[in-house]
Symmetry: C2
Subunit: 338 residues, 2 copies
């Protein structure tokens, strides 16, 4: 569960290239401007901070959330500063949570680069995360659209709420699918939803389309998180860059385990906290989960959300190119490493 | 330096009562509404979070920053929701930084109550802080005043920037007074300034008075921090509730030490990192700093900022009662425990 929120595996390069090609020059131009603006923000805060923030903001994120903002805003329509600011703001919130996650996980590397935590320590990383949060709202406030600040702060509250829920449910034997989905929504989908909603509000579609585009974002966010949780069980390590079963080691109960528990009494009676204390045990439980067919069941759920997401796009007056790219994004979230 | 930012010693009860009496029923009513709104926000985020956030938000802060918002808004004029939201937002940002500070300091108690860190752990405390940040901006966005979101996010960025600066300067032998003041401004004064500016923008004085009221806030913030740093050296412990010399143990170079270094060659050549590693050594250095007369010099600087702050109030069309209360606030920041 940590990995999607942690963004280590945002849409893979191949899919991303397809999406960018579909989005056209306008999307590429906005993403380039977003990169420059993020670098500018990082450098605008003194030397000490600049070093930390730059390394974080430029460490090769896939910019999936800004891409959603721009496409939902109708990037092909070539719209300007409001969309740019929203894309930057959403990426800043996302990055802020990554920086704080790295402190909590004591992570040395992120996307192959040293984390702020590893180079600057706990204090610097906590402060850098706080700063990126603050800058996100500054960026968005400058659009003058109070509604957009509300949308982002609501999503940002949800992220924190989801993190707390994940802690509260750790090692639980009684997490239901509904509760799991609620957690996915808070931890992941709400920021996707906000990205799409902001795109609509500040771009060509306008407030009338914000509900449906937000709903599209919610569904692909859920699919993204479910698929991420599947990858944590299925591996293989060389594709995801992580050991299998890290969620199990953290006590994070995800959909594959919930489904597998329904199917395998031995898993149902397994106490994660005492039984899964080192990587080899986690891998063995992963194999056992896979043997129940729970991974396919989880993938099916993710695909159903993708289908729902794409249906939400019907009937929205969106330029053909953005629409096509949004379909590709929806497909992309469950096609990673498959 | 940590203590003012950590807010452990916001204006003492005696002064506070005077300020509240001067502010009248309108101020008291707004502060009561702010307390209720903060409790509501804490409870509005699920059980797990509610527990953590409630304990933090209701743990007896002195509400100095909301008081500034309300008084600068002309609380006596009895104005409504905009001021209330701004007061709540500023307190939320302040509390968020306290919650994160407690994680970094591994602090068990805050204002005599268990910290979120001690009852919920690192993850819960980090997430709770993030959530309080997010809620602050949601609260302010609802005023519809983009300029106020910008003011708060700028102050909130400054807090984080100041924290990073403090880390960068730790144990340094070459911190100048100017650099120290810049750090005080970032870590403490900018949020005071934002509180006053928000009061002006959303209250009776209006944008025309925002500059001067902001400047008043900046000056009392500086005085507040300097005085706090003096208290860390002067004690006595039973008054401040903290051991003397905690800043020295953290490597935080404050005004008393900077001035004392100029006057005492032995202090100038002292390497804090190797020489001050336990409380008794810190107390001995405190005594040595006090012997140079540096505490009086620092207090004088703080008083000069108080005088500047009060001068800023001249010529602003503020009701008599709010003006009188703001004078008391200015005096109060350097009269704590004296």
């Amino acid at each position: 569960m940590s990995s999607a929120a942690a963004g280590a595996k945002d849409a893979a390069p191949a899919e991303l290239q397809g999406i960018r090609a579909a989005g056209g020059r306008e999307l590429t131009a906005l993403l380039d401007r977003a990169d420059r603006r993020l670098a500018q923000i990082a450098e605008g805060h003194g030397r000490a901070l600049g070093r930390h923030a730059t390394q974080t903001l430029s460490a090769g994120g896939k910019r999936l959330r800004p891409t959603l903002v721009f496409l939902c805003g109708g990037a092909a329509a070539g719209e300007g500063d409001g969309l740019l600011r929203a894309g930057v703001a959403v990426e800043l919130v996302h990055t802020a949570t990554l920086v704080h996650d790295d402190v909590l996980d004591r992570a040395a590397l992120r996307r192959g680069h040293p984390t702020v935590y590893s180079t600057g320590g706990r204090e610097a990383a906590t402060a850098t995360g706080d700063l990126l949060f603050s800058r996100a709202f500054a960026e968005l406030a400058a659009t003058g659209a109070a509604e957009s600040v509300t949308a982002l702060s609501s999503a940002s509250s949800a992220l924190a709420h989801g993190e707390l829920m994940q802690r509260a449910d750790a090692w639980s034997g009684s997490v239901t699918i509904d509760r799991y989905l609620e957690r996915c929504r808070l931890k992941t989908a709400r920021l996707f939803e906000a990205a799409c909603r902001l795109g609509a509000l500040l771009g060509a579609p306008g407030a009338a389309a914000a509900e449906r585009l937000g709903s599209y974002g919610d569904r692909i966010g859920l699919a993204f998180q479910i698929f991420d949780d599947v990858l944590d069980v299925s591996g293989p390590t060389e594709r995801t860059g992580k050991a299998r079963g890290t969620d199990l080691l953290d006590g994070t109960v995800t959909l594959p385990l919930i489904v597998a528990r329904e199917r395998d009494p031995a898993l149902r009676s397994l106490d994660l906290r005492s039984a899964v204390t080192e990587p080899a045990a986690a891998e063995a439980v992963c194999d056992r989960i896979a043997a129940t067919g729970a991974l396919d069941a989880a993938r099916k759920r993710a695909l159903a959300f993708v289908a729902e997401a794409k249906r939400e796009l019907d009937g929205i007056a969106l330029d053909h190119r953005s629409r096509h790219a949004l379909d590709l994004v929806a497909d992309g979230v469950v096609e990673r490493y498959s």
